[in-house]
Structure formats: structure tokens, C-alpha cells
Symmetry: C2
Subunit: 225 residues, 2 copies
DNA sequence: CGCGATTTTGATTGTTCTCAAGGGTAGTGG
DNA sequence: CCACTACCCTTGAGAACAATCAAAATCGCG
């Protein structure tokens, strides 16, 4: 990270540990004033953009170690809502204090820029997924993403529980619930994974990877160039 | 903006005006080391993520006043390529200098955070467009976006030229070229606009807006919740 | 003027959505 | 503890939107 230990301590001092939150609780809602960034310690959170009629677009699922709220800096208003998916521990980081601190610690400022930049890169990857990949490729990419993120945090990359519903997965990936359900069944039939309700056991990560890259291999698809 | 005039001058001093660039030139390519952010002064630029086989995902079209390269901060490597669409004047901003400057000018630091945050918000809006909207809604939203951005810069919001091909529009919106072409024809038949090759004349911006919002009005679509 | 690239238009196909219905699960309250 | 209910997931059948294939028309450029 490049932060000195004294700096880490100063950073640590502004972070608030919140009491555990429960499924269905909101961290914030669209339109709320922006005060804090949130870091997931344990559990999981979904962010989504609600639309007038009660519909929504799921923007992301956030696992331990991941940051929430960066899109609210611009206008100091949250542009999306954040809902707890399972009992979770979340840290709050008051942004104004973080901002002040970052102006006195250059390496912290740099980390902040990198963090924001990373979020942009991730969103761009997601744009490619939605713009170019079919249903099968999207779900495979989703599972690999979860697997990678669990692994990074020291959890099993093969064996995990989904804290979100099929409905939410479909919403996130731009697919109907039924399509997601059918794909899980198909992946299981093909021996790529075992799925039972929320429990996922990835049996052939390589094959899943191959699926996500399939689009690129096909010669000159229509939307290309 | 909140920058003092002395600060503006300091900022101005690190910005380099480049000679005019021409259609097809590259500002940078995926994998290039990250040195500068780029600001479009005149003309237009597209950014895209190339894939192995020569295909690509268009990530954005950049008009005068808009910034390019924010996704490269994270690893100091460009994750996408940037190609000039028409003869353009582009400013370069060496990022390391900007970063230094921002650590001594708090309001500049704040602007940087806002800029990065805004980019995230825009990408999230695009995710919603690709995840929830049909072809018609996507193209309408695209035209309105262009219109709004031209207007902001003092150009006509009704009458403008497209610097990108139908192919690139389709790629950007996750649609086939033919679909884009058919939609232009349909919009024209319905009196929403006049189109002749690259020349666009928007005749009913309200109707276009209504199209983009159609999805939200329909009661509880499948992917919602 | 002619060639290649781009755009348009038409016909057909196909993936995914939609509609419909059944079964399973978890949570609630009697 | 069991019944009830609401929600979630699955599966099937049909419809629809957009992709694909094909070809003609137009444009830009050397």
C-alpha cells in the first residue's frame, strides 16, 4: 500500500465499526445525502438503482473487503441504494475526514485515485459483458468473479453460498430469472458445477473460463470493430 | 469549481496542447503505460476495449470538454485504446504532475474525486441501459446523450453530425449494425428525426425522451426486484 | 471512374423473454 | 409441532425481438 504505520493509525482512527446489520436493512438509499463510504467486513451487500415503479437494476454484489459508495462523491448524493443480503458487519468511513487525511498523506491520495479508477475499470468490464456476451457466458463470468473474490479473501473458490436470489442474479446480468435457472441446470448437467439452492460447488473452473472466452474466439462477430 | 485564480494558472501550466490529430490516430492503446489524461478540445474520440481476434467493445465516445484515461490510473496501464474519430485537438495532462498539484490544492483534489466518481455514475447508467432497455430505447438514449452534451458545449442540440459509424454505434449499444440502421429509418418515418448519412436533425426530443423512459413505466418487468 | 467500405433493406433464424404452472423451502403463527 | 403462506426456484411451451444471412444501393476516395 505504501502507507507508513503512523498513517495507517490515523486512517484507522476515522473508520467506524458498525453493529451487525441484517438481511433487508439499507445502508443507504438513492437520494440520501452522502456521508460515508462503506467497507464490507463480513457478509454481503447489493447495490441497485431503483426505478419509479419499484423495478431496479442491480449494479453490484459486494463481498468482504469491498468498498461501497464511490459513485456518491460527485454530487454528495447517493445515486443507488445499498441493501444487506445477509447478516453483515460493515465499516463506515466518513468521506470528508478521509478526504482531509488524503490531502496530507500523498500515498493515501494515490490509493484513493487508484480505488476510484479500479471501479471504473470494473464497470467497463461489465459493460463488455452485457454488450457482447450471451446468457451462458454472462453467468459463467459471474461465477468466476465470485470464485476469484472469495479466493482472494481466503474462502474456498469452489464451494460457496450465494447470498442473492436467482432473480437478483438475472437482474444483474440482464437476464430473466428463468434463464438463470435453466443455465444452472444446464451447467450442472454438463458437470461444470453442482448446485443445490444457494449452495454452489464449482467442479470445473477451467471449463467455465473457457465459456467466458468463447465470444472472443469466434471470428469477427457482428458487433465487432 | 472553487479554484483560486493562482491555482488555475498552476494547473494551466502543466497542461500541454497537442498538435491536431487525425482520424484513425491513436491517443493510446491498450497496454500502453499511463502517463497522461487527455481532454478533448475539439473533435471526437472513441475508447474501446480490443479483444484478441480484432473485435472490440466500444466503451465511449468523447466530445469536446470530456476527459479520457481515468481507468488507467489503477495500474498505470491503459485498459482500453483511444482512437481519433475526426480531426481533433486534444490536451494532455501529465497525471503525476496533476497528482502532485492536487495534494497541495484541496479543491483540486476534491474536483478529481468528483470527476472519477462521475465517471463511475455514467458507467452505471450505461449498465442499466444495456441491462434493461431494448434496442429502440438504447438508440433514443444515445441520441439524447449526444444532444445534451452538444448543447452543454454551445452546439446545437438538434442538428449535428455523427463522427462514428453505424457499426460503432451498434457496438457501443450492444446492437447489430442492421438494427441501428433500421431504427434510424423507423425514427425518421415516425417523424422523430431526420437522418441523412452522418447528419442528424432531431425533430422531437420530447418523444425521444419518452421512449427512453418507456421501460420504467411498464409495470413490474421480469428482471425487476 | 471504379473499388472498397458503409449503409440500407429484406428474409430467416435463434436466443431469450414471456406466460403458465407445479413443487419446494423457509418463515410465521396458531 | 404442524399447518399455512409467501416467496423462490424450476420446467415447459410459445412468442418476440434482435441477430444473422444475403444482397442491393449509396457513398467516399484515390
Amino acid at each position: 500500500m505504501g502507507l507508513e504505520s503512523g498513517d495507517v493509525e490515523r486512517l484507522d482512527r476515522i473508520v467506524k465499526r458498525s453493529r451487525p446489520l441484517h438481511r433487508g436493512d439499507h445502508l443507504f438509499r438513492e437520494g440520501d445525502g452522502f456521508q460515508c463510504l462503506y467497507i464490507v467486513k463480513t457478509g454481503s451487500v447489493k447495490t441497485y438503482a431503483p426505478s419509479e415503479d419499484g423495478g431496479e437494476q442491480v449494479l453490484g454484489f459486494h463481498l468482504p473487503g469491498e468498498l461501497i459508495g464511490l459513485d456518491a462523491i460527485e454530487n454528495a448524493i447517493h445515486h443507488c441504494s445499498a441493501k444487506i443480503l445477509e447478516t453483515s458487519a460493515i465499516c463506515e468511513v466518513p468521506f470528508s475526514q478521509l478526504e482531509e487525511l488524503s490531502s496530507t498523506i500523498p500515498s493515501l491520495q494515490h490509493q484513493m485515485y487508484r480505488l476510484l479508477s479500479k471501479e471504473i475499470t470494473q464497470d467497463e468490464n461489465m459493460l463488455t459483458l452485457l454488450g457482447k456476451n450471451n446468457a451462458e457466458e454472462r453467468l459463467a463470468a459471474f461465477l468466476i468473479s465470485l470464485s476469484t473474490r472469495f479466493k482472494r479473501r481466503g474462502f474456498s473458490p469452489y464451494d460457496f453460498y450465494l447470498s442473492m436470489s436467482r432473480h437478483e442474479i438475472g437482474n444483474y446480468l440482464g437476464l430473466a430469472v428463468e434463464t438463470v435457472s435453466r443455465l444452472f441446470t444446464r451447467f450442472q448437467d454438463e458437470g461444470l458445477l453442482q448446485v443445490e439452492r444457494k449452495h454452489i460447488l464449482l467442479k470445473d473452473l477451467d471449463a467455465l473460463s473457457r465459456i467466458t472466452q468463447r465470444q472472443q474466439q469466434g471470428e469477427n462477430k457482428r458487433q465487432s470493430t
